[in-house]
Amino acid sequence: MSRRGFTLVEVVILIGLIGLILTVLSSLFLIFNRTAKVQDALVSTAGSAGSIVNGIQAVVHPADQVLVSHAFATGTYASGTSTLVAQIPSIDSSGNVVASKEDYAVIYQTGTSVYRRIEADAASSRQTGTKLLGINSSSLTFTYDQVDFSQVASVTVDIGTQAAVKQQTFTSHLRERIYLRNR
């Protein structure tokens, strides 16, 4: 019964194989990691732009007027290129308009986050509160079809979002003209 160990060649091949497997596995891990980050940036830029436009639509479509400014519980906001203050007829729980009651909404940007604050009348079924519409906003611009805010019939929203992964920057851009359907 001859007991023999490994030959030098066998050990070298083994070390080579282990090294090869480690290299492949670690590069796979790095690729997965990077793919996940890229995907996260893509989804968050595109998703934020989409949800910001949707959130603004939800305010502008039912609005009956764009206001010059309004005093909210959190401060006074004035309509302009980066802020939009709208007046929306109050609705009851079945969706019918409550006569001569109004809810107020503002879209504004703080840092790179875009928020929507709604302050509802006591008779309204809308909820008072502030909602984060989206993050990663690099530019939010409102353009109005009329200079006089009380005459505005449509608002054009231009939103750009961006997120960076290492040296690569991902951007998303949406532009939508939204009409005040209750005007």
Partner: protein
Amino acid sequence: MATTPHLRGFSLVEVLVAIAIIGIMLVLFHAVLSTSHLARAAKDQDIALKIAENELDGLRAGGYDALPASGSFTDSLLSTLPSGAGSLTVSDLNAKTKQIVVTVSWREHDEIANRSVVLTTLITNVGGLQ
């Protein structure tokens, strides 16, 4: 005879198992890599939907009398879609109603066929925002 080293190769089952394991890893790897392509396609679809919505909203606001003839339309976002193009079809549904079909089509970089988003609405000659 007893001291001759017993040399044997791999059995068929061993080879099949090894091939299966390698195959599964390759499939998983491909799946992970293709998700960024899916994310890009989803983003483009979102843009196309926004373009179509925007066009429909504009037509709705313009009202029945201002409806254009069938043809292509422009939108500042179309250039952000790979080979993006927009077209609309206006047809008479009945005497007082027109049917509008808005189509936004584009092509992802590594695909042969075009993708498209189609929205349809009816506009009557009463109503409108104007």
